[in-house]
Amino acid sequence: MKKAAVLMYWLITAAAFAAVVARVFWDTPEEATMGIIQKIFYIHLPVAINTFVACLLVFVASVGYLTTRRVWWDDLAMAAAKVSVVLCSAVLLTGMLWARGAWGVWWTWSPRLTFSFMLWLLYIVYLLVRASIESSQRRAVVAAVYGVVAFLDVPLVWLSARLLPDIHPSSIGLTYAMKLTLWACFVPVTLLAAGLIVARYQLARQQRARRDATSIHGFEPVMPIVPDGGGV
């Protein structure tokens, strides 16, 4: 029953993804000045917003772990951090393609682009920090403190294009049909991001259960049988 529900969730997400891509290319008018390249915006913005939500989840889970010391908060923070790196990679790649088409360059060190690149690096370093600490308790504490501090970059990304002179647009004028497409694109991207976080969290719980079962009387093996994250 649960397996069927999960399969249905992913099928609905895939169908919604295909439907919005079809709408973007065949049923949404082109923007007057930028032309077809502006259509990257419909996937770029939802992925960016979901990146911020994933980073917020790392922050909340890190605070949760520091206040309660329950390990499932640590697993949740790790799952959200991994998904935020994947999402942020997608934001940077779509942004670079848009920049190449609209500005003629792949990259420029404008405030928003710089803070976005920093965000990507911060969460990659978060995962590297986790991988470099063997003791699971120490790893969870260090990662939680890092997860709280790393979140400070998210408001900087959000505010940079509004408060500082930036080539990156802070808003784009859209017609009703364009707005409809944009809101429609939020559906599969949010479903996909939420599904990835839940799936990665469940995998982390399974891996922890396996590690706990193989450790003797609470002592951790010198080399973990199932490493943290399992390389995913």
Partner: protein, 35 residues
């Protein structure tokens, strides 16, 4: 490359990254369960 190519490439990259990661999580979970 035309602007149309860049636009299509954006959607393809997002799909590959997100769906690729979903498949990877599923495969690692399946291997763990089968151990």
């Amino acid at each position: 490359m035309t602007l149309e190519h860049y636009t299509i490439a954006g959607y393809v990259l997002v799909a590959l990254l997100l769906w690729g990661y979903a498949i990877r999580i599923w495969l690692v979970g399946r291997n763990l369960r089968n151990k």
